[in-house]
């Protein structure tokens, strides 16, 4: 309970709640789209740089490879886990189930950034290489979602254009690119740009989460596709997937903060990389549905409750199972 209270009282979460309340009250508060896009690029560059600098300081060891394997495995597998539930309980057709499942296998960069920031505020520091795990988990789920949606339809599963989009998706390029730059710069090389990317980070995150609160609540209020069953699945999926992420992290021997972050990653659902890819490759799927679930239900759940919950789970399970 203390962790939930601490998390709820953190500035980014308070700004998120403010945005959600403003949207619920039908306030005209809005963050210009171009500024929101700029802030998302800033946050991705900053988190990539900081992760790279951290890895250059701590060095690369086998943990990175194991964490990457765990992340890739989760991203590939989670869509196959959630799709049958979406079909049976959510009553979705194969195409919509595949599209929604892809979102749940992929990850939310903003949830990752917020979790890192809240955890770091109390000295619960995840390994820098988790940024690479984040980038690795962005896209495998897209392929799994397409397999689910198209396996009975025949024809080609992946168009060359989609494979290009997946490989060179803007957020993946920026995350991995800034991570590599951070590794090359090291701590000394990072110092000149530290004021921009570290000092201003929490403030920008607050403003970005204000916008996300507005977006999430407006998405929820505008949607016509979200049923009560699907909304409940939007809460159940992060609980189950996050627990799987925590277990995977413990099994590959990560430290507790990195285990918690892997749990947050597995629990999160994409709303940056995957929606555009699904619109391109599965245009007949309902974009209003998958955005309402990932952005309107799962994102707020993770920001408010998931982040402290997966920390508690990681701190409980890591000493129990990690030592075994």
């Amino acid at each position: 309970m203390d962790q939930i209270a601490t998390s709820l009282m953190s500035p980014p979460v308070l700004f998120f709640v403010l945005g959600a309340l403003a949207a619920a009250a039908k306030s005209d508060l809005a963050v210009p789209e171009t500024i929101a896009k700029g802030m998302s690029l800033y946050l991705m560059a900053a988190i990539g740089l900081k992760g790279g600098v951290e890895v250059s300081r701590a060095g690369v060891d086998g943990q990175l490879g194991l964490a990457l394997l765990a992340g890739l495995g989760l991203s590939f597998a989670i869509p196959f886990l959630v799709a049958p539930i979406l079909r049976r309980l959510g009553r979705l057709d194969r195409v919509n189930a595949g599209a929604v499942a892809a979102h749940y296998g992929s990850v939310s960069v903003v949830t990752f950034v917020t979790a890192n920031q809240i955890y770091a505020g109390s000295g619960f520091l995840a390994a820098g290489f988790m940024v690479a795990v984040l980038a690795a988990m962005e896209t495998p789920a897209i392929l799994s979602g397409l397999v689910i949606a198209r396996r009975e339809a025949g024809g080609r599963l992946f168009e060359p254009r989609l494979l290009h989009e997946v490989a060179f998706n803007g957020s993946v390029v920026l995350l991995l690119g800034s991570f590599a730059i951070g590794m090359l710069l090291g701590e000394d090389g990072y110092q000149p740009i530290l004021p921009l990317f570290t000092t201003g980070f929490t403030g920008v995150l607050c403003l970005f989460l204000l916008d996300m609160g507005l977006l999430a609540m407006r998405r929820l209020m505008q949607t016509r596709a979200l049923t009560v069953r699907l909304a409940m699945l939007g809460v159940a999926f992060p609980l189950v997937n996050g627990t799987l992420g925590v277990l995977a992290g413990v099994l590959v021997g990560l430290d507790a903060p990195s285990v918690a972050v892997l749990g947050v990653l597995a629990a999160s659902a994409s709303y940056i990389a995957v929606p555009a890819a699904m619109r391109l490759s599965l245009p007949q799927a309902d974009a209003g549905l998958y955005l309402a679930m990932s952005l309107g239900v799962t994102f707020p759940f993770n920001i408010v409750l998931g982040i402290p919950l997966f920390r508690w789970l990681a701190e409980t399970l890591t000493p129990m199972l990690g030592a075994a």
Binding site: A36, K37, I272, A277, P283, A287, L291
Partner: protein, 103 residues
């Protein structure tokens, strides 16, 4: 007086990620150029939508081409199977243009 020639103007309201598909179809129809208009929001049978630079999934563009009647017909026929799956809004009108050889 400037010489004007009758051509067909086709405007398609389309989700931003699907613009490239339309550009390919236009090219296959022999239409050599197109223009994208930025649109900020609206509502329709699928509910309200607005400009969305973050995910880009629900952002829309107005895809504009001008062509002679034959190419316009070919392009319209190519759009036909996509109307429902890609949720296209298609408008066609007659316009007078200068430098007709360009269209």
């Amino acid at each position: 007086m400037t010489e004007m020639t009758r051509r067909e103007r086709i405007e398609v309201l389309v989700d931003a990620p699907l613009v490239r598909k339309l550009a390919e179809l236009a090219q296959e129809a022999g239409i050599t150029g197109h223009t994208l208009w930025r649109v900020t929001g609206g509502s329709g049978t699928g509910g309200a939508w607005s400009e969305d630079l973050l995910s880009g999934a629900t952002a829309k563009c107005l895809f504009l081409v001008i062509a002679n009647e034959e190419r316009a017909e070919t392009f319209m026929a190519a759009l036909e199977p996509l109307l429902d799956s890609h949720q296209l809004i298609v408008m066609r009108s007659a316009v007078d243009v200068v430098r007709a050889a360009r269209f």
